[in-house]
């Protein structure tokens, strides 16, 4: 496999970014769009080539896929610790490579239509390229620090893209929030890296993940508050992952991030960046599994299950379609986390791991599709809110069909992609824990319900009064929709277990029929309910909402998590820490310093008064001084 070729994959988007960024003013928008798409097309083709070579030309060695690592030193810390930059090719990184390439390419194409006429057109493509570069870097990272570096870079690209409409205060606030919340999570990540680096002496994934390697076996060496330090490190790293993947309670930035342009939401906040957290845990999966018997994995599983349910409940009551999709994303990401949390390492036990990755793959396709469809709808009706939509199936047939496919896929209706991956997850959870399984099943039903709630709300119901009749989006936008719809429909038939598993040995996956039927029934029930409630204009939803009372309001207000955060940041951190710090500095610290100066001045005022200008006072002082000198020097000292 050609190293240079692999390097080209991330560096082409970087080059595109630099070209577009530097010649920002001198490139015509049309040209910049084409540059962006072409660049990414090359990257995508290369990714596919690499994937093909890895899986089919190179193939398995000793029954398992081997990781291929190319790296060079970037920075040396100590004799043993250093940051390398390089590429790590293994099944999951290649799978992610494909996901990123395909979705990003689709979004690039789509954006040419969606962003047409926007004054920041070139800038948009520049940022998209920057993001793609960072994401490639993250995916291909060979060590913890490299992943952290690109982790931060995707964070900042996300910041820039959410704040793309920077004159809109809500977008600015959302961008800031996204960055700071993930930054807080990254703090955990960084400390986790420091801890792991300190105790194991390496950042390298290959060494850290080696089940027989010394770094892993050192976990028992020292403990801290009842857990081994490595477990603490892993927990903190999971915190970082939870921040990026919007796990409860660090999810608050994701819905707000929908302020960004819709293609951005599709690319970053649905398909690629937000799965980085899942990817991180998957990347370190052997470590999570082996250190202290997977104690942290249990945390992962429970956080995942809770977030999934939590997000699904909120999604039901939201009226902004992008927010519904955002909560849906959060719920699905949590699903993947849950699957990782319940997974074992080798053989059949590793089903959860494989299912998680599988779901990541399919979810990227159908969720990106959902977002792009939503973008298409928003493009047509110029509103994000359900109340401004309805009956669009007549006006936008392609969008309608593709949205329906995606919605069915996420609802887990066979034979669409979502069914297969979701089924694996449910099977894996079922093996492990009944409570979690129940939650997962419930979430599956809720997912179908809220998805079809917006589906019916957008495409059926009765028409509101449109100012201008909505019409189907241009081909640049619908072609990506169609392509993604095909992927969404067919991705489930990929024999995923053959390529990806926790121990990299092929896993034969078979459908657990009773579980599958239960899940499908749950999905159909959800769809049915939605059909009942939202197909026609009825007062059923309102009555249901009224009967649920508190639960509904709480859900509508997202369980007041935002308010809690606002309280903590505004009232506690700003009012009680930052402001006193600033005041303390001005008044106490600076006051002391200025006080020293002032007291000097005051003392000098006092001394100045002795200089009275009266000769007599001077004479008196003189006489007294002479006396002192005489008495002291002549009589005292000569005695």
């Amino acid at each position: 496999m050609n190293y240079a070729e692999i390097l080209l994959i991330p560096f082409i988007p970087l080059a595109v970014f630099l070209v577009l960024g530097i010649f920002y003013n001198r490139i015509k928008p049309a040209v910049s769009g084409i540059i962006g798409v072409l660049g990414l097309l090359i990257s995508t083709l290369l990714s596919i080539k690499v994937a093909y070579q890895y899986f089919f030309v190179l193939g398995k060695d000793g029954g398992a896929y081997q990781a291929i690592v190319h790296k060079t030193a970037w920075m040396n810390f100590t004799e043993t610790l250093r940051i390398d930059m390089g590429v790590l090719l293994d099944p999951i990184s290649i799978m992610m490579l494909l996901v990123v390439s395909i979705v990003s390419l689709m979004v690039h194409i789509y954006s040419r239509g969606y962003m047409k006429g926007d004054p920041g057109y070139t800038k948009f493509f520049a940022f998209l390229s920057l993001f793609t570069f960072s994401m490639y870097g993250l995916v291909l990272a060979t060590n913890l620090f490299q992943i952290y570096i690109f982790w931060e870079l995707v964070g900042v690209s996300s910041y820039l893209l959410i704040g793309f409409y920077y004159t809109k205060p809500s977008a600015v606030a959302a961008a800031k929030k996204a960055f700071i919340v993930t930054r807080f999570a990254d703090l955990g990540f960084l400390i986790g890296i420091l801890i792991i680096g300190f105790y194991t002496g390496t950042y390298d994934f290959e060494l850290l993940n080696d089940p027989q390697g010394s770094p892993l076996l050192s976990w028992a060496a020292s403990s801290f508050f009842g857990m081994s330090v490595l477990s603490w490190g892993l927990l903190l790293i999971f915190l970082g992952g939870a921040g990026k993947s919007a796990m409860f309670p660090l999810h608050i930035w994701l819905p707000d991030a929908m302020e960004g342009p819709t293609p951005v939401s599709a690319l970053i906040h649905a398909a690629t960046m937000v799965v980085a957290g899942v990817y991180l845990v998957a990347r370190l999966f052997p470590m999570y599994y082996f250190v202290e018997d997977g104690i942290i994995l249990q945390v992962v599983a429970f956080v995942g299950a809770f977030s999934a349910l939590f997000a699904a409940i909120i999604a039901i009551t939201q009226n902004d379609i992008k927010r519904v999709l955002a909560y849906s994303t959060m719920s699905q990401l949590a699903y993947m986390m849950l699957a990782l949390g319940v997974s074992g390492y080798d053989g059949e036990a590793g089903l959860g791991y494989m299912a998680s990755m599988f779901h990541l793959f399919t979810h990227a396709m159908f969720k990106a599709l959902l977002f792009l469809c939503a973008g298409s709808v928003i493009h047509a009706v110029h509103s994000n809110y359900l109340k401004d939509m309805g009956g669009l199936r007549k006006h936008m047939p392609i969008t309608h069909i593709t949205f329906l496919i995606a919605a069915l896929a996420i609802a887990g209706i066979p034979p669409l992609a979502g069914f297969w991956s979701k089924d694996e997850i449910l099977a894996a959870v079922y093996e492990k824990d009944m409570l979690l399984y129940t939650i997962a099943l419930l979430v599956a039903g809720l997912t179908a319900f809220y998805m079809f709630r917006i589906y019916f709300g957008i495409f059926w119901k009765k028409d509101p009064e449109y100012a201008t009749t909505p019409h189907e989006s241009p081909a640049t936008m619908t072609i990506p929709l169609i392509i993604l719809a095909i992927f969404s429909a067919l991705a489930g038939f990929v024999p995923f277990g053959q390529y990806i598993s926790a121990d990299r040995i092929a896993l034969d996956v078979h459908i657990n029929v009773p579980l599958a039927i239960t899940a499908v029934l749950m999905g159909i029930a959800g769809i049915g309910l939605a059909w009942l409630f939202y197909k026609k204009e009825t007062d059923l939803p309102d009555r249901l909402a009224a009967s649920l009372g508190k639960l509904y309001t709480w859900s509508y207000h997202k369980f007041y998590i935002d308010e809690v955060y606002l309280f903590v940041t505004r009232k506690v951190l700003f009012k009680r820490v930052a402001e006193p710090a600033a005041k303390f500095d001005r008044q106490v610290v600076d006051g002391t310093m200025v006080g020293i100066g002032n007291s000097t001045v005051r003392t000098s005022e006092k001394i100045k008064a002795m200089q009275s200008g009266k000769v007599q006072d001077y004479a008196m002082a003189f006489v007294a001084g002479v006396l002192v000198i005489v008495i002291f020097f002549v009589y005292y000292l000569t005695q």
Partner: protein, 495 residues
């Protein structure tokens, strides 16, 4: 002519020529030519150093030693190692950028540039001197012009600020002088007479008792100019009142004297004292890191925000220096450089923004990204660099510091490290707050659309400072190699 003395001679000639200039045009031309010469020299020095280092193993290269005052054994003794070289490059770049930024300085241009270059000379001298006494002399030489520069060309409460700054720094140098004399009078351990030479002092193994007494004096003396909490309060006022170029030089270069002095003198000459006292100064600096960041969150004046951010960032330098670890030290030096370029850039941008909006209050501005895109975009980049984004120098520096500090065998030091790591979140808060309020959002006033575009000299200033930030951030290896090797003799003294 030795290569290091040139760093004193060329500014000297520049000053001499400046005396004969008659108007702004001539003065800035001469100053610019002088600074370009300095820059060329510093670049040349990097290459000569690397060439020389390959064949020469002594601690200091390009050394020169002339007796200056026989009775006290004061020498004009200079030399350079990797750290000096990087600091000289930093200084020359910031000086050049500062001259570009002052391209249209209003009154008394000649005197302004003279003071600026005198300051630069002091800084160069400080970095290259190996003799404590002349180091002290150059330290004073760097501080004094500051008073004039702020007092005459400043704004706001300039006399007060200038006075405060000068007095606090003078008080610090008084403490420092006691420390230096203490070192001097305890240096005769081998019976060869007293010495001021740093290398000889380090070899002399000053008695532990004396080290314990004089370390805090020396440390505080230097750390005041490095804005150690709680001796940092001169910096916000000083920065706020100083003209742009002076803020740049001050924050970018002058404040580095603190960390450099601590490293060269306090830690190298008094290692045992340092070990003895490190805990309290680590506490102070770690506290300063968090505290500066939090204080910056609530500021409204751009320069104050930046000043407090400097307290936070430079706290990290002192923090790392006290960890006695090559990696952390490496980080401290890179952080010094990185902070130098970054704050200089910040102050330059603040100056440009102020020139256009005539205010530094963030609440009064809005939507600048739309009207002055280049300045604003650079501000965003500088901000991102400041909050430690990978790809910029700040990240490299901070990671070295954190990893290095975390290697410390004492668990409490590791906890202190975690404590100061958390400043990165607060940093993000105050940076993004400014970006959000000032640069983004709707354009606040109609008059903003009439803003003049970025001029060529502003562009030059920005580029000069931005390129090193990105350069260090993208390819840190050559720089840290340069520094890392030079740390070796120093760390051996401690262990």
């Amino acid at each position: 002519m030795d290569i290091l003395s040139l760093f004193l001679i060329v500014p000297g000639i520049t000053i001499l020529l400046l005396v004969f200039t008659r108007n702004l045009g001539q003065a800035r031309l001469i100053a610019l030519l002088g600074s370009i010469a300095q820059f060329a020299m510093s670049v040349n020095l990097v290459f000569s150093y690397m060439k020389e280092r390959a064949i020469n193993d002594s601690i200091m290269l390009f050394t020169k030693d002339l007796i200056w005052f026989e009775p006290f054994n004061i020498h004009y003794s200079i030399g350079a190692d990797g750290i000096t070289v990087t600091m000289l490059v930093l200084t020359s770049i910031v000086v050049m950028a500062g001259i570009f930024i002052s391209w249209r300085i209003g009154d008394l241009p000649k005197e302004f540039f003279i003071s600026l270059i005198v300051l630069a000379t002091g800084v160069y001298g400080f970095f290259i001197s190996l003799d404590l006494f002349i180091m002290f002399v150059f330290f004073e030489l760097a501080v004094i012009p500051m008073y004039l520069l702020i007092g005459i060309w400043g704004s706001g409460r300039r006399e007060f600020s200038a006075m405060k700054l000068t007095l606090m720094l003078m008080a610090a140098s008084a403490v420092l002088l006691v420390g230096i004399l203490g070192i001097y009078f305890n240096s005769d351990t081998a019976g060869n007479g007293f010495t001021f030479n740093i290398i000889e002092l380090a070899a002399a193994n000053i008695p532990a008792e004396a080290q314990k007494i004089f370390f805090p004096l020396t440390f505080i003396g230097f750390a005041v100019i490095g804005a150690l909490f709680p001796f940092h309060t001169w910096s916000p006022d000083g920065h706020a009142s100083a003209p742009t170029a002076v803020s740049m030089l001050h924050a970018g270069v002058l404040m580095k004297l603190g960390g450099y002095g601590v490293f060269r003198v306090a830690l190298y000459v008094l290692p045992e004292g340092a070990v003895e006292w490190s805990w309290i100064f680590i506490f102070l600096s770690a506290f300063g890191v968090i505290y500066g960041a939090f204080a910056a969150v609530r500021q409204t004046d751009l320069k104050y925000i930046n000043a407090y951010s400097s307290v936070s960032h430079l706290g990290l330098v002192l923090f790392a220096l006290l960890m006695f670890n090559k990696t952390a030290w490496n980080g401290a030096i890179i952080q010094s450089l990185s902070h130098g370029f970054m704050t200089a850039l910040f102050f330059a941008l603040i100056g440009m923004i102020y020139e256009r909006t005539h205010t530094r209050d963030v609440r009064k501005m809005g939507g600048l990204l739309k009207v002055i895109p280049m300045i604003s975009a650079t501000y965003v980049i500088a901000g991102l660099a400041s909050l430690g984004l990978p790809g910029f120098s700040g990240f490299v520096a901070e990671m070295n510091i954190f990893v290095g500090a975390f290697e410390h065998e004492n668990i409490y030091y590791r906890i202190a490290t975690i404590f100061s790591v958390s400043a990165i979140v607060v940093t993000a808060v105050y940076i993004l707050r400014v970006v959000g309020i000032m640069l983004m959002g709707p354009v606040k006033e109609e008059a903003y659309t009439q803003f003049p575009r970025v001029t060529w000299y502003e562009r030059m200033g920005i580029l000069l400072l931005l390129l090193p930030i990105i350069g260090i951030g993208v390819a840190p290896l050559w720089l840290s190699d340069l520094i890392y090797k030079s740390l070796h003799p120093f760390i051996q003294g401690v262990l």
